[in-house]
Symmetry: none
Subunit: 401 residues, 2 copies
Amino acid sequence: MLNLEQIKDLAIQTPMKIVLLVIDGLGGLPKPDTGKTELETARTPNLDSLASKGICGMIDPISPGITPGSAPGHLALFGYDPLKYTVGRGILEVLGIDFDVKSNDVAARGNFCTTDSNGLVADRRAGRISTEKNAELCTILSDIKPDGAELHVIPIREHRFALVFRGDGLSGDVSDSDPQQIGMAPKTMVALSPTAEKTAALANEFADGAKAALAGHHPANMVLLRGFSQHPDFPSMGDIYKLNAAAIAAYPMYRGLAKLVGMKALDTGASVEEEFKTLSQNYADYDFFFVHVKKTDSAGEDGDFDAKVRALEEVDTLLPGLTKLEPDVIVVASDHSTPAILKAHSWHPVPVILYSKWCRPDHVKEFSEPACSSGALGRLPAVEVMPLAMAHALKLAKFGA
Amino acid sequence: MLNLEQIKDLAIQTPMKIVLLVIDGLGGLPKPDTGKTELETARTPNLDSLASKGICGMIDPISPGITPGSAPGHLALFGYDPLKYTVGRGILEVLGIDFDVKSNDVAARGNFCTTDSNGLVADRRAGRISTEKNAELCTILSDIKPDGAELHVIPIREHRFALVFRGDGLSGDVSDSDPQQIGMAPKTMVALSPTAEKTAALANEFADGAKAALAGHHPANMVLLRGFSQHPDFPSMGDIYKLNAAAIAAYPMYRGLAKLVGMKALDTGASVEEEFKTLSQNYADYDFFFVHVKKTDSAGEDGDFDAKVRALEEVDTLLPGLTKLEPDVIVVASDHSTPAILKAHSWHPVPVILYSKWCRPDHVKEFSEPACSSGALGRLPAVEVMPLAMAHALKLAKFGA
């Protein structure tokens, strides 16, 4: 497998267009009473037709047996080795709320917690306070003025908030204050590298300030911080692939991930219909589109097999809105499986279709896990999908002479 | 995947014989009006029989989506990781003309070009002068006597020539003089490492000499140089595999590549019939044979689907000349696909047959891309073919106790 620098040396700019349709949580597991997965159950004539015309296979988002989070699952599909291109937890948290994170910012995840009279953690989640209470407390904490950086305290949900320091000379190399168990005191945060001294000092100053400000706010009378991290400086898809890439995704997390690799996140409505309309409206202006469908994953996470089937059927029904644009390459894939019976992301490989005029079609006539398992793409790491898509758009020069 | 040093530790010398038949550019794409590839179209009863008796699969010469040049495509088949064992452009150029390159030589590619009255490049190819004119000019340039090395200036074709410096203390770490665009002056070549100072000086001395010597030879009044490189010092197949390996290839490029890994390049006629005769005549003297069929690739490059079909059928008809020798292992593979409809090398994986008394045959009864896609070898990197061939010849000892 070539690294991104080697791919960059081969990439050439052409007018051909690639559409990567990510049906989040696509892969499933059989419903016990039918023996069929969500995708096998769904009526998907348009996806089946695309599978017939294209070449199919199964992708492992990270590596066999490894269940991916959304970030590594997507980065792999964008061709970024997810074991090498990692994103810190704090940064992921703020990407997920569409916070406009700057390259020198340091972000951390925060919990409101309960400490006892000895200052020991009694409840790491402060009894899961309401999101409204959280917002109120974040406003209070925003008044802390640490010396040498701008502070942002942003409520997330229940007891969770995000913390961002903005300023010069910051680093994410700071240890957690969260002891991860009750009966212990919040830890003093320390610099894990010399460049992080300032940030560690800021973090401790914030924690001290929070302790004072929250003293009367039992159960949320203290904060725990973890996952300090900075914006990862990934090479852009424009730089690597010579693509002018756009993302059509409604959820902040996926828009944020797309922006991390230099895509333009287009304004779009949240429904699949609106997303495909956004694709159509912007089709002339970009040569790569990442289109993200969220509903399938949400239904899987909810354990709602039938809702996931309906979500798949909705994508299928609307698919002609994408195919009528006649992209030179269409990839239908996913960042991971979300089997409804597991109610969670899973490690199972994900079916993939690669369609292009230049693909060598296989015998697969149906878009499903078992059918794609015998496709000619075989079983391959998700990170190899982008080089294949690029090749099928005639966007990669020959390697060696 | 084991590296060559690890393979070397396992390799044992045995009397068993391996024949690697490389049908250059073997893989194809379907002809639109029939939906069948060149290989599916060709009548190949002997290859089909071999596929039935052997185990089949699809190989990616370098990595999915990557189109290989001939050098990395062949090196992978010889078991040399093509991303690690790279060959410089200048060296490849001289290998391609059967120049007897020595281990300390530095070779570069040269273009005759046209410069204007200000010394700026007006045509990087000097109007593609004739090969005859090229030869005449190379004779003139051969009179340049740079200080401290022997000079060889060898015509290739049209405006292209090769330059070789022979002497002590040379290095290929020299920048190009070719500015790669018109309107710029040829660049002064510089040493990219301290050991290349002498070579950079020689190269600039040659360029100055060429400018003076060609002054009256418009349009070919200057030279551009690029791809300075030295003979890569690869471990030999004898050293790694304990094989006494011979190459049966008519084209200089493939003979040169075989010599890079220590094979003996046998004298042979150019037709497949003559090549198989060479195999038969030398069969007793070696235990590994690389047999190279060029015609299939040439037909593919020409976009001549039918000629490629005929070339495949010719190989098939003559195949008994190979199989009657009863090699212990026969591998039929290729360095890359060359679909006639693309008129070029492509990234598509290549069908492979591995036959041996010790193989575990699969259900594949036909040698074609779709049939091999469902073979039991699966889809694997080409670099894994040699370890498989060695194993099936009982030439690899157990790894670990």
